[in-house]
């Protein structure tokens, strides 16, 4: 934007230079009028340039908000829906979908305020409750070039997908009522405070707005992925294994759905990461590129390890790898170079593969759809590697008093940042573990977290929602009367009755 204004200034000065010789011939009074109208036009030009940037940034941020919503529905809903058994597909999709509605209402009433209004180091206040004062004027603290309302709706989409990620851990066995209650409490007491700590003004971990423990988290590695991944593990352990796990095969019922879901997640992630630049800037481009590169490298790494170990590269492995890479690049997307992104992607593909297979088998927990293995492990790995690879050449987030950029990550010359990253991860983990445990206990006492064994065998689609995802059998209804069906039936019945009477 600055360069644009500079160009306009230069062009305008040139314009004046051309005019000047002509002005010599004119009377003095006329010359004075020209200069005052020049100032007028200059300020108009500045206004127009500002409006142009605002229009560009706002357009990108609204598209980004829509992209992030698309990650939850249909992206995550399809990804998870395909991985469960046929009897649970609708219930699994519904868990993601209903959170799009529930968290939105919470956000409007008090959530945005708790996350982003002024408060203490841990949580915001009620300054923006009921979206009071959140309108067309930009909030210059967070994003000076877009309407405050755009910033609000964009951040909402992160609050929607984070609890939705957790649903994969307790898939196929949690009551719908308990799930709703758990998520309302979890989002209120874990997500909103964590979002405030990392992104809110004065938050404890906020690197850009003067947090005491500045942690680099560009698009939500700790807030979204570490918090949801660790909470997911707590849920999986608290609810226990699905009946029959791991002796009975619990194969994904439709990997084509999961495939489409994973691809939608990949595309949606451009809104998630590149959108986190909060403007249509070169930083957004940089985050877009690193996001894409990490996903590609991780897909190859996961499928490659499988190929070496098992003899075949699987489709679920390649797509899961891409998601793992996207998770891992999330905290560093706007801080690292494209080559670092490739390295982060490879690391995420290998580590998350081992976490979902070897580690899960060794410990025996039933994290049904691998939320901890992918989001918990990938998010933690990404937050650590952000501390390693963050570079001031990409994003000069730390500056000295003279405004000169300071080293950001370990390889940039700021080894202390690693401690901050570890501190940020540890705080997110503690909040998530302790908070989730308490909330699960409360929900269990109030409504009971788990469906009955009979309901679990029947499936959540029928027992929780009274529907089935697929009607694949024969159509057993009669043909309509117009085709002889309904009229023929009573006729035949009459003939049979006559025959019996004879």
């Amino acid at each position: 934007m600055n360069s644009l204004v500079r160009m306009r200034h230069a062009g305008f000065s040139l314009f004046l230079l051309v005019l000047c010789p002509a002005g010599i011939a004119l009377a003095q009074t006329a010359a004075a009028e020209t200069s005052s109208s020049a100032e007028d036009r200059l300020s108009k030009l500045e206004q127009a340039a500002g409006a142009a940037q605002s229009a560009g940034d706002n357009a990108w941020m609204l598209v980004s908000a829509a992209l992030v919503l698309m990650m939850t529905g249909p992206g995550l809903a399809l990804f998870y829906g395909g991985l469960v058994r046929r009897k649970n597909v609708l219930a699994t999709m519904m868990q993601s979908f209903i959170l799009m509605a529930v968290v939105t209402v919470m956000w409007a009433l008090y959530g945005y305020s708790l996350a982003f209004s002024e408060g203490n180091s841990f949580i915001g206040g009620f300054g923006y409750a009921l979206l009071n004062g959140v309108g067309a004027d930009p909030n210059t603290t967070y994003a000076a070039t877009i309407p405050h309302q755009t910033f609000m709706i964009y951040q909402l989409m992160f609050a929607v997908i984070t609890p939705a990620l957790i649903t994969g851990a307790f898939a196929e066995r949690m009551k719908f009522s308990a799930m709703l209650l758990f998520m309302i409490l979890w989002t209120t007491f874990i997500y909103f405070p964590l979002a405030h700590m990392v992104w809110g003004q004065g938050g404890l971990l906020n690197a850009a707005l003067g947090g005491r423990l500045p942690t680099l988290d560009f698009a939500g590695g700790t807030v979204v992925h570490v918090s949801s991944g660790v909470s997911a593990l707590v849920c999986a352990l608290y609810l226990g294994k699905r009946i029959g796990y791991p002796q009975q095969p619990m194969r994904p019922h439709n990997l084509t759905l999961s495939f489409i879901g994973a691809c939608l997640l990949w595309v949606g992630w451009f809104g998630f990461n590149a959108g986190s630049a909060l403007s249509a800037s070169s930083l957004a481009t940089s985050a877009f590129v690193t996001t894409h590169f990490a996903a590609a490298a991780a897909a190859l790494a996961w499928a490659g390890v499988e190929w070496l170990r098992l003899g075949k590269p699987t489709v679920l492995g390649a797509t899961s790898g891409a998601v793992a890479g996207l998770v891992a690049i999330t905290p560093g997307a706007g801080f690292v170079t494209p080559m670092s992104a490739l390295i982060i992607g490879v690391a995420a593909g290998v580590v998350c593969y081992l976490m979902t297979s070897a580690a899960k088998r060794a410990f025996g927990y039933d994290d049904s759809l691998d939320v901890f293995g992918i989001h918990g492990a990938g998010g933690t790995l990404g937050a650590l590697l952000t501390g390693v690879f963050a570079a001031r050449a990409v994003n000069p987030i730390f500056k000295d008093t003279a405004g000169q950029p300071l080293p950001v990550g370990l390889l940039d010359g700021n080894s202390a940042q690693m401690l901050n990253q570890i501190g940020g991860i540890a705080i997110a983990m503690v909040v998530a573990v302790v908070g989730s445990l308490i909330i699960l206990k409360v929900v269990d006492l109030l409504v009971g977290v788990r469906v009955s064994a009979e309901d679990e065998m029947t499936g959540l689609d029928l027992t929780q929602h009274g529907e089935e995802g697929y009607e694949l059998g024969f159509d057993l209804t009669s043909a309509p009367a117009a085709f002889g069906g309904a009229t023929a039936t009573p006729q035949a019945a009459r003939l049979v009755a006559q025959k019996i009477n004879e």
Binding site: P246, R251, K312, T314, L316, Y353, K360, R361
Partner: protein, 112 residues
């Protein structure tokens, strides 16, 4: 009359059907079934977790035939469905008391 039930490999359905058409068998019923015999199932791997899948998809065909063509029908199916490996399937032969063609009410072999 006899009922011939044959469990076959799914991809050999066309071969069996053509073979039966050669000897003038006039119809058949086919269904998808799953089961296991001597052919061992296979393993599937999802995110590193291996599953042993015992029930293998097969097709079951059913045909009703006059007594005198039994040997020929069994030969036709065996020839078309045989690969020589475990999993080729089985043929079951049972007696049938009566057959009725719903359209006309004809009974016995006339209804075949």
């Amino acid at each position: 009359m006899k009922k011939i039930e044959a469990i076959i490999r799914p991809h050999l359905l066309d071969a069996v059907k053509n073979s039966l058409q050669e000897i003038d068998v006039k119809g058949m019923t086919v269904g998808e079934v799953q089961g296991y015999g001597r052919q061992r199932g296979h393993t599937e791997t999802y995110r590193g977790a291996e599953y042993q899948i015992d029930f293998i998809p097969k097709l079951k065909i059913e045909i009703i035939i006059p007594d005198d063509v039994e040997d020929m029908v069994v030969y036709a199916i065996t020839k078309a469905a045989q690969t020589g490996k475990f999993g080729d399937g089985k043929i079951f032969v049972t007696n049938i008391d009566d057959v009725i063609r719903i359209r006309t009410g004809e009974r016995g072999e006339a209804a075949l």
